[in-house]
């Protein structure tokens, strides 16, 4: 791990500085040594330098899909990686239903419960092109509100000649108990997010021609209804952040883990190697033939979930050394679907940048104000 260390520390201290040790009783050396002068006596420079950071910092994308991104951030400290994680969870804005105007609701779901359910539906809309409504709220306009309408009525399906047919009669006995509550022969008995109809305001239709605004999934169940019941409402999406309410959180979760690093201080050979391979539930180890001796090797350290099964039995904790690299973060971002995960991460970095520059400005103002006071 050259990219952090400048050398100069004894090997065991260097290891403690860059690795956390996963032991049976408790993890050891988990914290990052941050103070600039921490290793001054050993001649190691621990202060921050942007040049060094530029040189050492790397990003490696592991996988990327519409929902999830997994990537490695290498050469960055926990404080910063955690800031991105926190911002992803709480401070990257999205659009979510905030105001619901219920015109009619005769379903079993109470108005406020219905509104709560609607709020949690992820909306596919790029919050970057919308504005916050603020407090007190600005007047609604096409730049801060997306409007949806939900109008569903449950009716009995007009039997087209034949009776419900064998499909209903022949259902398995296990579901026969719920036969009375089956949705067969009913129209609109399941209100789903797909029933939400976007009402473009002003030029919204034009602006979002390429990516029409809609719920991310159209099969989220909102309510179940019986004949005669109906729901009619208008819902307004507003821009917000996850800190206010979890519905505005753009991610299912964003988190990271540290890169596992497994070393075998002494070769594990023969039956022991088989035992070791068999112990690991995540298939980290392989057995290779080294000079005619079957020897265990660490083949897939990334698979390791740090379950400590390989060091649980007496004696093994000395034969297997479980460590994690302190500045290698395997980051995973699962998007709710409003924006692709990689964009979300970029946004989170931008939020941090914005914060830093905002505070710098505020600091300047505050000190300027203070100096002018006396």
């Amino acid at each position: 791990m050259k990219h952090v260390s400048e050398g100069g520390l004894p090997a065991h201290l260097e290891k403690q500085r860059t690795r956390m040790f996963v032991k049976n009783a408790a993890p050891e050396h988990t914290s990052t040594v941050e103070a600039a002068s921490a290793y001054a006596a050993s001649g190691l420079e621990n202060s921050f330098s942007i040049e060094r950071f530029r040189r050492d910092f790397r990003v490696e994308i592991q996988s990327l899909s519409a929902e999830e991104a997994v990537f490695d951030l290498i050469g960055i400290d926990a404080a910063l990686a955690n800031a991105f994680r926190r911002i992803l969870l709480a401070e990257v804005p999205t659009m979510a239903i905030e105001k619901v105007f219920i015109l009619n609701n005769t379903s079993m779901i109470q108005d406020e419960v219905l509104a709560h359910r609607l709020g949690l539906i992820p909306i596919r809309a790029d919050a970057r092109v919308f504005q916050f409504r603020g407090d007190p709220p600005d007047d609604p306009n096409e730049y801060n509100v997306i409007s949806f309408r939900l109008q569903v009525k449950c009716t009995k399906q007009r039997s087209s000649g034949a009776s419900p047919g064998p499909a209903v009669v022949g259902c398995a006995p296990s579901t026969a108990g719920s036969g009375a509550s089956s949705d067969a022969g009913l129209l609109g008995s399941r209100v789903t997010s797909g029933d939400l109809e976007w009402i473009p305001q002003g030029e919204q239709e034009e602006r979002f021609r390429d990516a029409p605004i809609a719920p991310v999934h159209d099969d989220i169940l909102i309510a179940k209804m019986r004949p005669g019941q109906e729901i009619e409402l208008e819902a307004w999406c507003e821009k917000g952040i996850g800190k206010t309410h979890a519905k505005w959180s753009p991610v299912c979760t964003a988190s990271y883990r540290l890169l596992p690093e497994i070393t075998l201080p002494k070769p594990v050979t023969g039956d022991d190697a088989t035992t070791l391979k068999g112990m690991c539930p995540t298939n980290v180890f392989d057995i290779e033939d080294l000079a005619g001796v079957p020897t265990a090797t660490v083949a897939r350290p990334r698979n390791c979930t740090m379950c400590r099964e390989c060091i649980r039995h007496p004696g093994w904790d000395e034969r297997v050394l479980l460590t994690r690299v302190k500045d290698h973060f395997i980051f995973s971002v699962e998007s709710t679907g409003a924006l692709p995960p990689e964009t979300l991460f970029q946004e989170s970095v931008k939020v941090l940048m914005q914060k830093a520059s905002d505070i710098a400005t505020l600091l300047k103002d505050a000190t300027a104000g203070q100096q002018s006071e006396p």
């Binding site: 709480a90 108005d111 988190s255 979930t305």
Partner: protein, 949 residues
């Protein structure tokens, strides 16, 4: 009908209220109980209960003399005199009846001597002696009929009042003499051997009175009342000598509403008064608690004891070994009713009366020798193996091969020739065979083991599963039988099949159907209860009844006084067999929360919980409180009645300035529709009107308006129904308005008001292990620790909750839950079995989790790994009904009482908070006594002006 399929029934609906008749526990009737009285003297007592009367007969031992005590006699009656009065005049015969062994003879000597000292030798003398002591007047008087001599009276008393349950046919006192002798004999035996003492708390000596028996008592009383009424009516009618055209028809005088009113009254008030037995009980019925499904079920199994709650006795309150399998060992309240209120175990059955006569005949044909035919000496002859045979406490006779008798009766019972709830038991100490067929005995089903093998075979279970077999078939075929407490005592019950493979296999006579049946419904909710410290299970039994959830499938149609519902209830991840049996998964009450056992932020001390804000945002612990408001519209004798009026129209002047007026002052009539009632779906604010009711000013005199005509506004004064709810809570809506009517009032309006609540600081939660706690802090998700997989806990629980409480079951629940989640199945936490920790651990490892369930977590604040592993996993948490919004209260200045001008009391009256003695002490101790003086005297009680008007 819109009824809930899971509703257990078992309650009465009286006047719109669900009432449960609680099971009453009493000492069994018609059985001899030998124990020590409060002077530590040996004493025997029998409560005789027949359909006619109930009385208690005591035999005391006073200075070595045996005396008989009964309410109808003003003085103690020496037993020997009683014997003589019943026709046994020879001292030798008396002695033989009691027992002619030297120890009995010695014990009886003083009593016999006393009798001869009193000069009573003949039956006549004895009767005279008794006749003098019959109590006249006052309580406990025995109504005597005139035209009888004193002796006859005394004889009558002996025959029908004293030990009334022992039948005396045509003044043949033999059975009663035997009975009294038996009482004395048992007392003497007890003096020599503690073994002969009876234990009042022994559950075989208890009888449970169920709703049916209580109602039959009531019915008999009411029937007698009706007959008396009818007789009185008829004689009045018939006394009218005036010529009548047709024959007198009795049916016309029958009052048909006696029963209806009597039952209604008794059930709705809970006051059971049966004059015949001078029974006056209150609190027999209780309103069915619909707080949760479990509380509703728990109420059906509740047993109330007749003991006084205030008495500080430990005997009746403590858990008796004989309650094993019959009563739940965990489910009892804390505090004054502890141990007096009990609950039935899962498979308990309470017997009803079975006819004695066939059993009596059967006994005789099985070789029981009738008492009448025996010389008294033969009764107790140990050499020939003679055992007394008692049927429901009455001496039937003697049998010389008791084991054979026992086996035969059991065989007949298993083949269905004798009632399935008839119990036979050999009492080795008393050398008797007790046969019981009376009502109120608790019993439970057990599998029969014959010679070390179960009679139940796999094919039977297959047939049961296939629906080819019913429960009753198992009993009919003698595979399962019911044992009551007494018989259970003489049975050897294997707990599991492993026992039947062990060394002692041949000794077993029965096997438990399932060991979990020793617990009741409420304790059945607890996963792994056998790993918990026992009081924790007891606490959970009390708390399970306060958990919010779903109440019934028809809960949306119910209008209860108050209803607490959870919006998104989960079925528990770790279930128990009991939960399956009661279909708890259909009506769950709680959430599967991901719990991390660690300390966090210091706001989690003293059992406080840290809760994830995002979880709350997403609906964790969200609940709905539905409250009922009722308003009746009365009708007055003069024909006028109360009416609901539309909201007042603004006067033309006000209408012009309408806008300003409305904004300056909240419109309390906002909710009122044109029919004078509130509109469904509207949001309610404090002090809004729900019903705009008006009452006529004049309700006495005739008014010139007919009933249907509307009264002018001037003749009405407003008497509205206003809403008053928790202050500061905005999410309250009108949920439903119901119109109805009843006999007395013209119209009844019920309004259901709904408020949806999100958990807040101070709301109470509890796991299923008696571990309650309030929310100490709500933390945003990003601040919470997370695991390698990105999992954030919903709840953080402080580990200090574990060491002193020893709720190991909770930890195992976490393990089983976590293993279940990973394997995609439900965990099983059934008592005495369930998934083992080792199995769960293996499952965890299989999915890459730590063997002990402890994972690496990262701090949400710094992003660094935490310095210890954290025990994380799902635990089922219940939200309890105690919420801050209903309880918080503070006041600076406020309303005062008119009389004393002191602040009012209680939250509902916006009352003051008491600065009590200890608080006063604090201030004095601090040295601020003048502050006290000022605050309590000058600033509160002092008045300058007193208005006199």
């Amino acid at each position: 009908m819109g009824e809930c399929p899971c509703d257990p029934g078992g309650y009465f609906i009286v006047k719109g209220q669900e009432k449960v008749v609680l099971i009453q526990e009493q000492l069994s009737k018609n059985r001899i109980i030998v124990d020590r009285d409060n002077k530590n003297q040996i004493h025997s007592a029998v409560t005789s209960s027949t359909h006619e009367r109930k009385s208690k007969t005591h035999i005391d031992c006073k200075g070595g003399k045996f005396v008989l005590r009964h309410n109808t006699m003003s003085d103690d009656l020496p037993v020997v005199i009683a014997f003589k009065a019943m026709g046994v005049t020879s001292d030798q015969e008396i002695l033989q009846l009691v027992g002619s062994e030297p120890k009995f003879a010695q014990a009886m000597a003083t009593s016999l001597k006393e009798c001869s000292m009193l000069g009573i030798f003949s039956e006549g003398q004895a009767l005279d002696h008794i006749a003098k002591r019959i109590r006249t007047g006052g309580r406990g008087t025995w109504e005597r009929t005139p035209r009888r001599s004193k002796r006859d009276e005394a004889r009558e008393l002996l025959a029908h009042v004293l030990l009334a349950h022992v039948p005396v046919v045509e003044y043949d006192f033999a059975p009663k003499v035997m009975y009294v002798a038996q009482m004395v004999r048992r007392m003497i035996s007890a003096q020599f051997d503690e073994e002969f003492m009876d234990d009042m708390d022994y559950y075989g000596n208890k009888r449970l009175e169920l709703a049916g028996q209580l109602l039959s008592l009531l019915f008999e009383d009411l029937f007698k009342k009706m007959c008396a009424e009818l007789k009185r009516q008829a004689s009045v009618e018939l006394a009218k000598t005036s010529a009548r055209a047709e024959a007198y028809d009795v049916t016309k005088s029958v009052r048909e509403d006696i029963f209806t009113n009597g039952f209604n009254n008794a059930i709705s008030t809970g006051n059971w008064s049966v004059k015949r037995f001078r029974m006056e009980r209150s609190g027999v019925t209780q309103v069915l608690s619909r707080l949760s499904y479990i509380s509703c079920l728990g109420m059906m199994t509740r047993i109330m004891s007749q003991f006084e709650k205030t008495r500080k006795v430990s005997g009746p309150r403590s858990l008796q070994p004989s309650q094993w399998g019959m009563l739940c060992p965990s489910d009892t309240p804390e505090g004054e009713a502890c141990g007096l209120v009990k609950n039935l175990a899962l498979s308990t059955h309470v017997t009803t009366d079975d006819d004695e006569e066939p059993i009596r005949r059967l006994c005789f044909s099985l070789g029981v020798e009738d008492v009448h035919l025996l010389c008294p000496d033969d009764l107790y002859e140990a050499r020939n193996g003679a055992h007394l045979v008692l049927l429901n406490g009455l001496i039937l006779g003697v049998h010389r091969q008791p084991h054979k008798l026992l086996a035969t009766i059991r065989q007949l019972r298993r083949t269905g020739h004798v009632g399935e709830f008839v119990s036979v038991q050999l009492h080795p100490t008393h050398r008797s065979v007790n046969i019981a067929s009376d009502s109120g005995r608790v019993c439970r089903p057990l599998l029969i083991v014959d010679n070390g093998t179960l009679l139940l075979k796999q094919c039977h279970l297959d047939e049961l599963a296939a629906g080819k077999r019913e429960w009753s078939a198992f009993i009919k075929e003698g595979i399962i039988e019911y044992l009551d407490v007494n018989e259970e005592n003489s049975a050897e019950i294997a707990v599991s099949e492993a026992d039947l493979r062990g060394e002692r296999r041949t000794q077993y006579t029965h096997m438990e159907i399932d060991p979990l049946t020793i617990l009741g419904v409420c304790a059945g909710l607890i996963p792994y209860p056998h790993h918990n410290q026992s009081p924790r299970n007891t606490y959970q039994c009390a708390m399970g009844k306060q958990a919010m959830g779903t109440i019934a499938h028809n809960q949306a149609d119910r209008i209860d006084t108050i209803l607490y519902l959870l919006i998104y209830p989960h079925k528990p991840l770790v279930k128990t067999r009991t939960l399956d049996l009661i279909k708890f998964a259909n009506l769950p009450a709680g959430h599967n929360a991901t719990v991390a056992v660690m300390s966090y932020s210091g706001y989690d001390i003293e059992d406080a919980l840290i809760i994830n804000k995002a979880a709350l945002d997403r609906g964790f612990g969200r609940c709905m409180v539905l409250k009922k408001f009722t308003q009746t519209f009365k009708k007055f004798p003069n024909g006028s009645c109360e009416v609901a009026r539309p909201p007042p129209k603004p006067s033309p002047a006000a209408a012009r300035e309408g806008l300003r007026e409305r904004s300056s002052q909240p419109n309390r009539f906002r909710l009122i529709d044109d029919d004078g009632l509130c509109m469904v779906g509207e949001r309610i604010h404090q002090l809004d009107l729900l019903v705009n009711k008006h009452t006529p000013v004049n309700t006495r005199d005739d008014v010139p308006y007919s009933e249907h005509e509307r009264l002018p506004d001037s003749a009405l004064r407003p008497s509205p129904l206003t809403y008053k709810g928790p202050a500061g809570h905005m999410d309250t809506y009108v949920d439903r308005v119901m119109l109805s009517g009843n006999k007395n009032d013209r119209q009844l309006v019920k309004i259901r008001v709904r408020s949806t609540r999100r958990p807040e600081l101070g709301d109470k939660f509890s796991s299923r292990h008696g571990q309650k706690g309030v929310i100490g802090r709500i933390v945003p998700q990003e601040d919470l620790p997370f695991t390698d997989m990105g999992v954030c806990p919903d709840i953080i629980m402080n580990p200090h909750g574990f060491p002193s409480r020893m709720t190991v079951g909770k930890m195992i629940e976490l393990m089983a839950g976590k293993a279940g989640v990973l394997e995609g199945r439900m965990g099983d936490g059934t008592a005495f079995k369930g998934d083992s920790v080792a199995e769960c651990s293996v499952a965890l490892v299989k999915h890459g989790f730590n063997y002990l369930g402890k994972d690496i977590m990262f701090s949400g604040l710094t992003g660094e790994p935490l310095k210890s592993y954290v025990f994380v996993g799902p635990i089922y948490y219940q939200k309890l009904k105690h919420m801050v919004i209903d309880k918080m209260h503070a006041r600076a200045r406020g309303p005062r009482q008119v009389l004393t001008r002191q602040p009012t009391e209680g939250r509902s009256r916006e009352g003051g908070l008491r600065l009590g003695e200890m608080e006063r002490d604090c201030l004095i101790g601090y040295g601020a006594s003048m502050l006290l003086n000022e605050r309590l005297m000058t600033s509160s009680d002092c008045f300058q002006h007193i208005d006199v008007w």
